[in-house]
Symmetry: C2
């Protein structure tokens, strides 16, 4: 089972957006350049985030993407769901009801194996929902040295004009 790498890309991109002043955004090209990623593919993933309402898109010159909500109100789950979709990883196809001997269990009750995987995914989802972009940005700020912060502000100044 492999998660799309788009999740990693957009998670880092949103972290950067969350570190900007409210209402300020960056173009998809700039977000891609920041982590040395393929610009066109990054743009495709940002579109998914825009459709999901995590970010807002601003077209035209000087446009780009900016967070649609405050960093505290965007969780890693929101980003994951925007990229991967809301379908669970485990899809029960009810094979217990197929075959020459479907007489195991009560079909009015959910498949037990499906129920276990469902519980597991709920636990996983809860962990992702517990962390917002604000938490991540705060963590990064704590680890950051002054020299590196200056490097970041210089790059941002160049991009924001």
């Amino acid at each position: 089972m492999k998660m799309s790498e788009g999740v990693e890309w957009t998670a880092h991109a949103c972290t950067l957006l969350a570190a900007l002043p409210p209402g300020i955004g960056l173009s998809a090209a700039a977000l891609a350049e920041f982590h040395d990623l393929a610009p066109a593919y990054m743009a495709k993933h940002m579109q998914a985030l825009a459709r999901a309402g995590v970010v807002e898109s601003v077209r035209g010159a000087g446009g780009g993407y900016r967070l649609a909500r405050k960093p505290h109100d965007v969780t890693l789950w929101d980003i994951y769901e925007a990229i991967e979709g809301e379908e669970p990883a485990f899809r029960c196809s009810e094979i217990r009801q197929q075959g020459p001997c479907p007489g195991i269990g009560d079909f009015r009750k959910p498949c037990e194996i499906n129920a276990i995987f469902g519980r597991a995914e709920t636990a996983w989802k809860a962990e992702l929902k517990s962390m917002s972009l604000a938490d991540i940005v705060a963590d990064l700020a704590r680890k950051q040295t002054p020299a590196r912060r200056a490097q970041l502000t210089e790059w941002l100044g160049e991009k924001l004009g």
Copy 2:
């Protein structure tokens, strides 16, 4: 993100094997027939379980697959890992260190985003590890009607000879 349907196939197959008397097994063809699945593909998945040591294979006439351990000692995680492998779903490629401005955070410490996904997968894994085949079989037995149990034993008698 999508889990291989082989996980569902083998989980149900192992549940059936766990319901048999200790040391008794079934051929891959019989396991496939039981849930009306493609026999050759079912065999391929059972091979993965055999490599992982979840089941033992017996070649030759009358052979097949049987559980390598007691049902209580086989968890859904064992089956998942045998099919999907042990690599995590989220692979951190350390893109935070790439690009023109890699100066965010302390690289000696793990990437915060990766850490969150790691915690989430740990929670997910714990849930799967908490359920053994014995638990699942017990649950099915509780839901089962006498008529359906008779149907199962008849089919098994035909297959086991």
